[in-house]
Point group: D2
Chain length 331, copies 4
Amino acid sequence: MQFLSDNAARVHPKLWEAMQAADVPDTPYDGDALSGRLDAVFTELFGRDCAVLWAGTGTAANCLALATMVEPHGSVICHREAHIEMDECGAPGFYLHGAKLLLADGAGAKLSVGGIEEVLAGITRGIHQVPAHAISITQVSEYGQAYAPEEVAAIGALAKAQGLGFHMDGARFANAVAYLGCSAAEAAGPVDALSFGCTKNGAMNVEAVVFFDSAKADVARWRRKRAGHLNSKGRFMAAQVLALVEDGLWLELAGQANAAAAEVAAGAGERLLHPAQSNELFVRMCAEERAALRAQGFAFYDWDESCVRFVTAWDTKPEDAQALGRALAAL
Amino acid sequence: MQFLSDNAARVHPKLWEAMQAADVPDTPYDGDALSGRLDAVFTELFGRDCAVLWAGTGTAANCLALATMVEPHGSVICHREAHIEMDECGAPGFYLHGAKLLLADGAGAKLSVGGIEEVLAGITRGIHQVPAHAISITQVSEYGQAYAPEEVAAIGALAKAQGLGFHMDGARFANAVAYLGCSAAEAAGPVDALSFGCTKNGAMNVEAVVFFDSAKADVARWRRKRAGHLNSKGRFMAAQVLALVEDGLWLELAGQANAAAAEVAAGAGERLLHPAQSNELFVRMCAEERAALRAQGFAFYDWDESCVRFVTAWDTKPEDAQALGRALAAL
Amino acid sequence: MQFLSDNAARVHPKLWEAMQAADVPDTPYDGDALSGRLDAVFTELFGRDCAVLWAGTGTAANCLALATMVEPHGSVICHREAHIEMDECGAPGFYLHGAKLLLADGAGAKLSVGGIEEVLAGITRGIHQVPAHAISITQVSEYGQAYAPEEVAAIGALAKAQGLGFHMDGARFANAVAYLGCSAAEAAGPVDALSFGCTKNGAMNVEAVVFFDSAKADVARWRRKRAGHLNSKGRFMAAQVLALVEDGLWLELAGQANAAAAEVAAGAGERLLHPAQSNELFVRMCAEERAALRAQGFAFYDWDESCVRFVTAWDTKPEDAQALGRALAAL
Amino acid sequence: MQFLSDNAARVHPKLWEAMQAADVPDTPYDGDALSGRLDAVFTELFGRDCAVLWAGTGTAANCLALATMVEPHGSVICHREAHIEMDECGAPGFYLHGAKLLLADGAGAKLSVGGIEEVLAGITRGIHQVPAHAISITQVSEYGQAYAPEEVAAIGALAKAQGLGFHMDGARFANAVAYLGCSAAEAAGPVDALSFGCTKNGAMNVEAVVFFDSAKADVARWRRKRAGHLNSKGRFMAAQVLALVEDGLWLELAGQANAAAAEVAAGAGERLLHPAQSNELFVRMCAEERAALRAQGFAFYDWDESCVRFVTAWDTKPEDAQALGRALAAL
């Protein structure tokens, strides 16, 4: 019973079908018919003009998006525990040519207007200090916490007032929308670009970089090629994204993952460090309890000395989630 | 009847099978069992120690390999028409942090010892000019020409004598080996790293970066992550490579593509700009002749005003190749 | 009698005076009163709004200027023998984060509209090839040749039509103006930024980067600091530039250097590879003749096997120039 | 009476003399006789083999040194308030091609072995996180605090044990040596490279980058040229350094600055945030007190709401320092 990572989950059968249907000769790179449909599909989903590029990983998606907003002498304001800071081996430094990440604090790994303003207030040394060029938030956050639409809107208003780009790392954007029960447009708010996660949500190896400004997408096309992320058989990339998005499968799968997490959370009760708002749960637990759970066949990640992480996925079996919930309650 | 690109070809059924067999939970990134088998498989293939990383595209593979050999203030000697110079949108400049490509001439887009020495002889200004740090050749070349083992060996000897790294872009390495009738080891010669092409040869979206020096591979692991090329479900990348390499399928498929090209070449006769040594043919042709061929249902690429390019693939039907050969002969 | 390089020449007494006058406490970096006068002085000189930054070397000046016009995925069209290509150890690759230099041909190391158009015509592969973002010319060229105002204007018109930035490396801009007998504005034409050379013309260690677009200058200010070129005692940098420019000394000194070169050229006669248009002369000469000249006490640079280079400076003694002229005539 | 910055101080007369004596034709760049003497002079000073490059600013010196120790995918451990983090506009990100700075804590802006170990202990995510490649400390620290020789030695031992490069930003190294009363070698300890500050200590525009490993210096020579820091009239750079170092002037001038600071410190008494160990003092002071001091003619920098900074220099008049001391005591 694996609760290690949604990266360990399977590829959804409909995506297999879509990829196999795409296995016919077509124009290489992103000149194929499937890639050509992406803009329209996301424009419909978000209700505003979208220009969409596929990319092989979330790291690439985030960096390609940020590279359209941040000059090499600038910086990105993000949470101290953001994926771009903690888990991408300096990829933003590579893609942004040495631009910095300015780290802000905030509960549940979420940025707040106040936290951002504090960072901005520290930029006082003129030419001797890097200016802020963009804000990046993660929906849901590294601790599985969803930004309510009004929170995203408030940060967006600050970004606009300060002339900053606004990026959302949506590796688990689907889980946020499923949890919030709002529209995709509401969950994304006024961001300039969204890394729309697919791989953790039933795809094999693709993310969609959604630009709400086609000029930025045009820059990103050059940068994607230059970074070696313009796959030659791009039709297989587009096929996965379309299969997830066109019929609402993305939201359905995230709902399944969230539901499984809710089962687990119910058993975890007071042990939860953060409320269950997606498919990630952080649960206080001592070494003996961890060993006991593992002895029962549960696989999970030791986050730190005080807590463990459980991640559910679209293919987590309800009975496994229930079993884990019961085991947690019984600890 | 498509002769546009081997990038337009289909994914081989055995690779589909391998990917589907890989669709079970496993450690994310490159910690899975399949990725763990790559080093041994290539070590057996080449008869010397290999450390192997998968990467999503040939551009990424080339750049990750070169980044282990070239410092930012250095340069790579390559052919004036090399893919890294002509077709990668400056990716080497990105991955090598501004290092230069020094362009050499040579028939059939192949580098020769003489051509390389000429470039080296032009480096006379000391600190005012970038030094050479590596040589990169393409096996087969951009014009489909294979380097004989002794040619690779001679360039390798020069590289060693000059203290330069030696890289081989093997996007169509399989076609070279199939044509040369030699071993993989002989076709690669003493290179330090080889971009072993898979996507043009029946894979969906993977190349193998083969390092013959594990210290270089260790650097490349950081650089791969940092470039966003460490796919989270890496098992699907490894599965494709293993399916191609473990049972010799890679060579069989390249042989099929070469054989189809030979049929075409037989019809092209004197029109061929370069002898048929792989699955790429460059054929002199005027506008009327191009139109006539297209009217018969043949799709191909206009290389320039004087010639067109035909590319066969593992799935080119023999009867299509024969039909094209006949059509060319009849022109 | 040294004709090796104008880099070997002395610092003009008025610049020594100006630096010593600047040796009073003032705001560090570029906040001093002298630095604050630069914009106005150049605005008057060029008759259009200027924003001016000092920088320690011509390489830095060129790269800081280009970095305001060229994105990392773009390129600069320059002459095959331009200083930025041949003599800056890849500095443009560093400052432009891997952008490429696209090399054009042209007599006397001067770019022509035709040569630029030829390069542009070769950019046909869309996203697979770097787009051009700027044109850079050298006034006077690496072979000491001046662009007539109408030549600069024509290239500027092409740049504008193509949406490209336009940069002039003016390491010897003063020599060009002195030769052309036109205004500084005419010699610079419609460039967006000019590296206005000072060090070869009597300064110790400063160049002025003149931006005709203050937004570009604002970007360059960040980039200058980030490159370690914002000297803390900037008043000594500004003092040199002001001493050269405010009273026309820059033009007077260049006139002296050109006059000395003219004496040499008169003696060289048919041996000149390019007409004398500045302070650099390239003179055909065999090994014996070189030895004979050196035996007479003349120091100069062996350009290649067929010719040598003589460079005069503001402090070349007229009698030395005449002596060299006579010696050349006597060969 | 100016206590704003040692960057505002004057150039020492002996350096003016040395520069003027250097105003004779010599080989451009660093091929002149003066530049050629640097290695020997520093080798004698430090009692171990040195290879020395001049550079125009402290930012350039720091970054050129670090670039020999840190790969683009790596990082530098430094203090949270280090100059390279706070005051160089992201220059390390530029020169190190996106490498990160990992920030450690420590009293008085000094790194401790414990603080460094804490950062190292946080590097647990393997390939997902940047590895440490170097440690950089500032002698004296941003708060004017000197590292005792045994402190430098302990950090050096840690660096060696961990396989990390070790860099010292010595913008005020002279003040540290003058305070510690030890040898230059003891104050530098086992660092691999030292940015030996000159501009704050009587020079016009030069720092010496001292490498204790000539292979690193050889890399730095390329990087310096590539960064536009190889001045063409390098003899004026070398002349300043030699005039400071050859006869011990550097230490004498730092002693004068320290002595002036000691006068000020005596008056500041309990208001000092950190003990007086160099020429920088941080003094608790409210707004009214600041106004009162300024009304008496003292110029200084508002560090933050609770304290101000006084900086003395080689040319601070003893009577001015005494006057400030008295004024502080009288507050």
